[in-house]
């Protein structure tokens, strides 16, 4: 997982350097039209990473539940919350993207004129929710899968399994909160 994140970071950095070399435009001195693009990129990346994380997390927990139910079909209700729990990060990513789009006027009237500085600010404001949700959803998927295995053996322990999953959720909520404050702090 770490190596994949490093590869992703290197690809983005290399892309920026290449773009700078090809166009002769520095990332710190972009034309004004790039402000909007950077803000939109921030919105996109928060949905993109949080969505991928949630899909991977749910994929893991749902597979675990399917495996248990293949041998013991009873108890779907007990596993349902544990299956769905890693899905919340995708929603947080969507909320952050929605806030950015709202701030740049994507829903009402013409888009606002945004400077590259403001664009960068929106982009970085999206990163806490994007990365916190991506990683927490994957790890929450693992915790929920283990919770499902525990409930498969001890059917009365589903409450404890959910609480363990919620601990991982906490850090995704922190990511969303920081992104929320940062997005709202951009002066327009």
């Amino acid at each position: 997982m770490k190596s994949r994140l490093i590869v992703l970071f290197l690809i983005v950095t290399a892309g920026l350097i290449l773009a700078e070399e090809q166009t002769g435009i520095s990332v710190t001195n972009l034309p004004s039209s790039w402000g909007l693009a950077l803000a939109a990129f921030g919105a996109a990346i928060s949905v993109f990473l949080a969505g991928i994380g949630s899909s991977m997390g749910i994929g893991l927990s749902a597979s675990a539940a399917a495996g248990v139910m293949s041998e013991n079909p009873a108890g779907f209700g007990r596993y349902l919350v544990l299956i769905a729990l890693p899905g919340t990060q995708g929603i947080y990513g969507f909320v952050a993207a929605f806030l950015i789009l709202q701030r740049i006027g994507a829903f009402k009237g013409p888009l606002k004129a945004i400077t590259p500085d403001q664009g960068w600010y929106f982009f970085f404001a999206a990163l806490p929710v994007a990365f916190a949700c991506f990683l927490s959803a994957v790890y929450q998927g693992k915790v929920c899968a283990n919770g499902i295995y525990m409930v498969a053996k001890q059917s009365k322990e589903s409450g404890k399994a959910i609480v363990m999953g919620v601990f991982v959720e906490f850090y995704a909520v922190l990511g969303l909160l920081v992104s929320f404050f940062l997005i709202n702090a951009v002066k327009m």
């Binding site: 597979s63 675990a64 495996g67 248990v68 139910m69 693992k142 899968a145 295995y149 498969a152």
Partner: protein, 328 residues
């Protein structure tokens, strides 16, 4: 993402583990009035699928082997790492090979010994040993059988068994190199095999050359440890390793009283099963699948002891003494 391939199979396995007979149930089975009551109690477990109204206790072997066969097929279907679970099935190929070689050399019938849960069918193995055809075998098994067939005229049963045992243990250790729990399990298995041979040859026959021949490399205990101990007049459990101290202590005490090392076999089984009990806490790894097979095999050994003991009217105390620990 490596974990995702384990999520579904591990879920199915966890649900299946609930069918392993726990120690409380084993106690109640051991308390059964007789073999008929034992059979009735077994109806409530997964073995009940093969027990009909007409089934009698004398057909217990059939019930046990059909259930084990079904459990093995279940693991073969769901395992995400066949190369690890195949180590378990390969053990039966080596076992069958020993029985077939014995049959071929001594010209005796060993058909009742074969276990048809290996990776290769008995017929294919038989035709390979009789040099009638060349079916695809595991490399370690093939090399060992080839060497035995080559020396067929000058080899005895002890050498055949030893060569096959050593070959299997070396191969299993090599294959489990990247899996800490299984590596530890196989290293302990090698040590316990060496300890068993050492005690047998030292206490029963004083044949150091036989011990040297049967020694399996790869365990935690070096050969020199055993060779130095060979000179000792009185063996003490502390001479070996703290790891096996209590096991050897019990075996030596038992040998003093009964002049038999049977308890060592039970101790070995219990020790190895306990080693793999930690696999219950692994979620995204192949070890739980191997451990489940071992647990089921152990459970079948327990049931066999109960049936044989009750059918032969052995005392409860003696039956209980032979029982292995349960995985759960």
């Amino acid at each position: 993402m490596g974990d995702s391939k384990y999520a579904y199979p591990t879920g199915a396995l966890r649900a299946k583990e609930n069918t392993i007979i726990d120690r409380h149930k084993i106690n109640s089975l051991a308390d059964a009035e007789n073999e008929y009551a034992l059979l009735n109690l077994l109806r409530e477990t997964i073995y009940g699928d093969f027990i009909t109204e007409e089934t009698t206790p004398s057909s217990f072997e059939n019930i046990l082997s059909l259930t084990f066969q079904r459990e093995c097929n279940f693991i073969k279907e769901i395992t995400p790492e066949p190369n690890i679970t195949n180590l378990f099935f390969l053990k039966y190929d080596f076992f069958n090979a020993k029985a077939l070689m014995k049959s071929s050399i001594l010209d005796v019938q060993t058909e009742n010994l074969y276990k048809d849960i290996g990776l290769i069918s008995i017929d294919d193995l038989k035709s390979y040993i009789n040099e009638e055809s060349k079916p695809k075998l595991n490399n370690a098994l093939k090399e060992t059988l080839d060497s035995i067939i080559k020396d067929k005229k000058n080899i005895n049963l002890f050498e055949i068994e030893t060569r096959l045992d050593k070959s299997y243990l070396h191969y299993a250790l090599e294959q489990s190199d990247h899996y800490l729990l299984l590596k530890d399990f196989h290293k302990s298995w090698i040590d316990l095999t060496n300890i068993c041979s050492f005690l047998r040859f030292k206490l029963d026959s004083d044949e150091i050359e036989l011990f040297k021949y049967s020694f399996v490399y790869g365990g935690y205990l070096e050969k020199s440890v055993f060779l130095n101990l060979w000179k000792e007049e009185m063996l003490k459990s502390s001479d070996f390793s703290n790891r096996y101290k209590s096991l050897i202590e019990t075996a030596l005490e038992e040998y003093q009283k009964e002049k038999t090392l049977e308890i060592m076999e039970k101790g070995k089984d219990n020790f190895l099963l306990k080693k793999l009990q930690n696999a219950k806490y692994l979620s995204f790894a192949p070890e739980p699948f191997y451990a489940f097979l071992l647990a089921r095999e152990n459970e079948i050994k327990i049931l066999r002891i109960l049936f044989v003991g009750m059918i032969n009217k052995m005392s409860r105390e003696k039956i209980r003494k032979m029982l292995r620990v349960s995985y759960v």
